[in-house]
């Protein structure tokens, strides 16, 4: 696997293949799984993602604590300036998956459960508006996987280590590259989309109320999807981010390493430590008090 997205882009451009194709070839060359097995696994992941979006959209689920649920369904009645566009579909799909996740439903960690709404939100939101095949979506998932693997090596994919920038931020970067690939952009454009997206999520803290993957996680997946759409739109228009993507990823890692522990999934700071955050957490956690058999 690659430790540098820049190197991967160079190789893909030289071989005149997409990042997704490169990821599939590289993984198959590793020899642990055949290409057919890898594609099969991605196809199953795609089906689970579809299932999660479908399960979450009707809005009848409540989270384990009861704090979140039903917001994905509200987007069906969007009345804002972007109502009915790919934008609101991305928001709705991302919320749907996260609401399923918060209800202990089945999702695909992409890269984590806390950020699991962004990638299916962006890809399946785009798929509603563009003629895309499952094969294209599978290659886009491989692209996302390649980006996630690089972020894992160079920075982190753990909110406890790097804050939300390492979860929904990494997910948004993955979704941006995948979206560019899905829409026919080049590997270079995909890399710029990652950089343009992740520069916007740098410093994002992980501050879940009561430590639950509910507030703000559910909403942050929607805004993560919006960030990815911004990166995709700019990159496909030819915008090039001046700092190379690997250095943006390294920056995320460096910020994570120096981030105060209150902002790394401990519920000790940020929104979790607001008066309302503390009150809601207290009410809900008392209710959640687990039985200790």
């Amino acid at each position: 696997m690659f430790e540098s997205l820049g190197e991967a882009v160079e190789r893909a451009e030289a071989d005149r293949i997409s990042l997704g194709e490169l990821a599939l070839r590289t993984e198959a060359e590793d020899g642990l799984r055949s290409r057919a097995e890898i594609e099969g696994a991605l196809r199953r992941a795609l089906e689970v993602m579809r299932g999660a979006v479908e399960r979450g959209l009707p809005g009848d689920l409540r989270s384990v604590s009861g704090l979140v649920g039903g917001d994905a369904a509200r987007l069906a009645h969007a009345r804002g300036p972007l109502a009915g566009t790919v934008f609101t579909d991305v928001l709705a799909s991302a919320l749907a998956v996260q609401e399923v996740n918060a209800a202990m439903g089945v999702i695909v960690a992409a890269p984590t459960a806390g950020g699991a709404g962004v990638l299916p939100g962006v890809l399946l939101g785009l798929a509603r508006h563009r003629p895309v095949t499952d094969d294209m979506l599978v290659r886009a998932l491989a692209t996302a996987g390649l980006v996630g693997a690089v972020v894992a090596v160079r920075a982190s994919l753990s909110g406890a280590e790097g804050g939300c920038q390492a979860e929904t931020g990494a997910a948004a970067g993955m979704a941006a590259a995948a979206g560019v690939e899905l829409l026919g952009g080049s590997p270079t454009e995909a890399a710029h989309a990652v950089a343009l997206t992740m520069q916007g999520t740098l410093g994002l803290i992980c501050d879940p109320l009561g430590g639950l993957v509910e507030v703000p996680c559910v909403y942050r997946n929607a805004t993560g999807g919006a960030m990815a759409l911004a990166g995709i739109e700019m990159a496909l228009a030819g915008v090039q981010f001046p700092i190379p993507v690997d250095e943006v990823i390294d920056t995320m890692g460096e910020i994570g390493r120096t981030m105060d522990v209150r902002y790394r999934e401990t519920a000790g700071g940020g929104l979790a430590a607001t008066p309302t955050g503390r009150r809601l957490a207290k009410e809900r956690l008392v209710q959640l008090k687990p039985r200790r058999p």
């Binding site: 089945v106 753990s158 430590g211 401990t266």
Partner: protein, 210 residues
Amino acid sequence: MVGPSSSHTAGACRIGLFARGLVGGQPESAKVELHGSFARTGTGHGTDRAIAGGLLGFYPDDVRLRESLELAEQAGMAITFSNTRLRGEHHPNTTRISLKRGPEQAVVIGSSLGAGRILITNVDGFPVEVTGAFPSLVFVAQDVPGIVAAVTSALARTGENIASMRVSRRQKGGEAIHIYELDSPPSAEALDIVRAIPAVRTLRAIPRIA
């Protein structure tokens, strides 16, 4: 996987699965100590349910994880949870699980590194590094020369390829723990040969859990 957290749910489940493998099946009792972020935010993430599910043999995508505490009770598995502060350096998401199954006992420390990846860092007081990404052979043996050669030749004879191996001991001439990560599950024949090595005791074949 079943939500809501890849580190606190899926990773925790995998640590439970590994621990179960160490005693060769469903434990009668399990003492689960939660450290760091596992202790602070584990309940809301279903970490307790996930570990209990892993101990019951459920994988991270099994929807029964939601009811695992109730299922553990029905299955007669006594499980207790407590918060702790483990000594030494540990990842924020770490648990120590002490298990009993008949004459079998094990104490395992495992960390959930994010995105569902885990690292088992200690088994029965021996420092180890196991990811669960491969089927593995785990056993304790007397610290005498020739064990590794005997085991690797047994595996070679039956065609198992070793992905990684690690031997560590607490003191010279005492006991050492051996962990072999394999590309494929070990055959019954290979297990019999290894088990027959006089210095080897408590041999466990642990399936791939990641």
